[in-house]
Symmetry: C2
Subunit: 356 residues, 2 copies
């Protein structure tokens, strides 16, 4: 039976990317060697690294004012690395708290400088994106989490500001066009819209980067990795390779602009059903709903296990909600086909026929 992967992350990848990745794990090109065992100094890997980097520039329409590196350690490492590199002990940075990941980012930043809570949606269990707040011009940066996987909220736009944003885009990068000029730094763990776990994409505005001052371990200094084109030490070759293939796939499907249309249509299909179906209710405020992670509850808690079982029987994997919200979470990243969302919607409809 065809399976539809609704996991929040690691998450669904395009089928052709999976097939090509498996092929290269067996043999890369006609080298007679697996991609898993060739030197990072080989021509094969150098070409992969170059195409991965170039593709980021191309897909996000980045100009030469930006540096692009692939690191390790996930977004969780960027929580402290961003502050370690950019926030002096006596300098101030603002943090918008929109859920668990934002909270963690703030916690780590406080170890390095005056990291402050600028706004939070904790009062309503993070079911919305805060909007009414002032951005102090003295802030070194304002940290945002553009999409919140656990609570199913997403920034629909980024307000104009004199202060540069540092943004965790792990779960919605490459899902829609963004005005990158507002960002001093963008980071994203690969394992949502990009590739398997193990690689972290970091995009840095050169002007913003010039403000770094603290002496840090060599491996934690962004300049180290920029100077060596992400190969100061052995990079996570296979994760970067799969990410590169995903970016090739993105370009073939209209880039982030093309994907944005598809993502809107998929999300509309599912949210419309949640709003229509008498058994279900969405958890996020409508204007802040995520196009990536759709969180919803059953009005009747006693039916949760039965709905999970029926979804699984239809091939829908990974829709159990995070314990912080409960209910269900359907993650419908770039690689999720409309067809997969339709299958889930059909389960909801037949569930209503039985229990409605």
């Amino acid at each position: 039976m065809k399976k539809y992967n609704f996991y929040a992350g690691p998450a669904i990848l395009p089928q052709e990317v999976i097939e090509q990745s498996a092929k290269s794990a067996l043999e890369i090109g006609d080298t007679g060697l697996s991609l898993l065992e060739v030197s990072h100094r080989s021509k094969e890997v150098a070409d992969i690294m170059e195409e991965a980097k170039t593709s980021v520039y191309e897909l996000l329409h980045l100009n030469d004012n930006y540096e692009v590196v692939f690191l390790q350690g996930g977004a969780s490492s960027q929580f402290f690395m961003s502050a370690m590199n950019f926030l002096g002990e006596s300098e101030r940075a603002g943090y918008i708290d929109t859920g668990s990941w934002s909270t963690k980012a703030l916690k780590e930043a406080k170890k390095f400088g005056q990291a402050e809570l600028t706004a939070s949606s904790k009062d309503k269990n993070y079911n919305y994106i805060p909007k009414a707040y002032q951005i102090d011009k003295d802030l070194k940066y304002l940290h945002l989490t553009s999409n919140n996987t656990i609570f199913g909220t997403q920034y629909q736009g980024f307000p104009d500001s004199d202060v540069k944003y540092i943004c965790d885009m792990s779960s919605d990068i490459f899902s829609k066009p963004i005005d990158t000029s507002k960002f001093g730094m963008i980071y994203a763990g690969a394992q949502k819209n990009l590739g398997p776990a193990g690689a972290t994409l970091v995009i840095l505005d050169k002007e913003f980067l010039a403000r770094t001052s603290r002496e840090v371990p060599t491996m934690l200094d962004y300049n180290t990795h920029i100077a060596k084109d992400s190969s100061f030490n052995t990079p996570p070759v296979f994760s970067i390779y799969v990410s590169m293939l995903t970016m090739r796939w993105l370009k073939k499907h209209g880039g982030v602009e093309g994907l944005a249309q598809k993502n809107e249509a998929k999300a509309k299909l599912l949210y419309d059903e949640i709003d229509r179906n008498t058994l279900f209710v969405g958890t996020a405020q409508k204007e802040d709903r995520s196009l990536m992670n759709v969180c919803f509850l059953l009005n009747n808690d006693a039916l949760v296990d039965e709905f999970l079982a029926q979804s699984a029987a239809a091939g829908c994997v990974g829709i159990k909600g995070h314990r912080s919200v409960g209910g269900f979470r359907a993650s419908i990243y770039n690689a999720m086909p409309q067809e997969g969302v339709q299958v889930l919607v059909d389960v909801m409809k037949s569930f209503e026929e039985k229990h409605g």
Copy 2:
């Protein structure tokens, strides 16, 4: 034509590990999903993480006094993490400098405490392992690099000492039995004897671990990862999976004890030819020769390119030496079959017939 992978790292993996990895990249078990896209909270990944950890205990005969975690960032991240976690500002640690990687480890440690050079073989371009030195009882630890990929030297044993060792075993872990009781910490980037780049194995003595004091970012604290069984954040699932398969393969082939015999036989075959053949000379002092990375030169520099071409024609990939030593380097890790070494030796013999 069959290719023999002599790369220093990322390096050769067992063929059956490669084939199973490629298969799981397509579909893990009968889930209908690729291993690249399943959640790290799924049963499939939980089982992989558990078997990977258990296998380390089993292969190295570790008792409950040790913790085992899989991290990201390579050995290069352990250079600073080990000092950040274990070396107080006013505390002293000793470093034995046996090449580029040791030098880097010392450089990073100096940012955290009184890291001192205890001994070095730099005077002879690192062609030996220092032996005549005192280990001061006041040292928090003594840092070693057990095998030096660039210079082809390897510790043949570790002297008894009251001071615990912290050891970078990236390039010879699992290649022979070791008395782990001497080590406070052992670390190894996966990409030599274990798996593809992206995972780092860290083994910690609990008693040694208890001495950590400095407040560090959450992601850089070993205790974070121990408490969450290497899943505090999304682990590099695929790299750990391939490493787990390699450990399965190791167990099938007699464990580290069985591999040690094979590794000795392979190294003897190649070193004997280097010593016998009138055209070649080994670079490392005989008593410190590495069983993993065999470095050798041609007496006549003018023939280097021709030898590289003839080796390549015979299927030997990656034997060009590191620029710090020149000549040739044949990396013959666990997964290199005796047959591959024989092919290289045969090229050396026929090269002598032509040019001797």
